[in-house]
């Protein structure tokens, strides 16, 4: 498994890691910075992680995916720091013999990552900034 926190996401690195002669499918989900939230322009985002625990949780989610589907390889990579609109901030990817497992596993990886991994996103607008999800 490739589990990392990085300053910059390298999609080629994720693909190179996942691709394997044993696999007939490589599936990557890439989460990127959207330029607006509820119609308000986002200038940039800032990601902060509880590094040690985030890596542990990312590894746990990857292990769960390995148990649920017959996967060849799994990669979970998240960026930290300031990110401009259009920039990739998270990559989850798998390789597997057949495509169904790869689609399902990727969906599972990103959904679980969003629920459990201690990473926080702050959105900066022209006139203010907000920690996403912090308040009801």
């Amino acid at each position: 498994m490739l589990i990392k926190l990085v300053d910059h996401i390298d999609l080629n690195e994720a693909y190179a890691y996942l691709n394997s002669p044993d696999a007939g499918a490589v599936n990557l989900f890439v989460g990127t910075v959207r330029n607006q939230t509820k119609g308000k322009e986002v200038v940039h985002l800032d990601f902060e992680a509880y590094d040690a625990m985030a890596l542990k949780q990312m590894e746990q989610v990857a292990n769960q995916a390995m148990q649920k589907w017959p996967l060849v390889k799994v990669a979970v990579i998240h960026a930290v720091g300031a990110k401009e609109p259009g920039t990739p901030v998270v990559v989850v990817g798998v390789s597997s013999a057949h495509r169904d497992a790869s689609f399902e596993a990727c969906r599972f990886l990103i959904d679980e990552l969003k629920k459990t991994v201690p990473i926080w996103k702050k959105e900066y607008f022209e006139d203010n900034s907000v920690w996403v999800n912090a308040h009801p």
Binding site: E48, D51, A52, M53, A54, I110, L113, I119, H135
Partner: protein, 102 residues
């Protein structure tokens, strides 16, 4: 298994206090770091905190803004803890406001 950490934060507890009355150190992230105004909070031993619940109650009184959050989890040595779990100063304790990665 390949585990690599590229970015380092300065939040890790580096030293252990050997005095009998040890100060509990709480790591803070995201909005909890901003509410407190620092990345680590020292809680005096005489605050009487011995469970996750007592920590949350103390925080709510000291920092009323904590009560406005959608949720507030506590981790002990990088595992999510329940309100009734015991905590002590030698553990790595952290506040986890609502996560928003991805």
């Amino acid at each position: 298994m390949l585990l690599i950490r590229i970015s380092l934060t300065d939040n890790r507890q580096q030293t252990t206090d050997n005095r009998q009355q040890t100060t509990m150190k709480i790591l803070l992230f995201g909005i909890t770091r901003e509410i407190v105004g620092q990345s680590k909070l020292n809680i005096p031993a005489n605050a009487g905190i011995d469970t996750v619940r007592s920590l949350k109650n103390w925080l709510g009184k000291q920092y009323p803004a904590m009560q406005t959050l959608s949720s507030l989890a506590v981790t002990v040595d990088s595992e999510y803890a329940e309100d009734e779990d015991a905590i002590h100063a030698e553990q790595e304790i952290a506040l986890i406001p609502p996560v928003s990665g991805g």
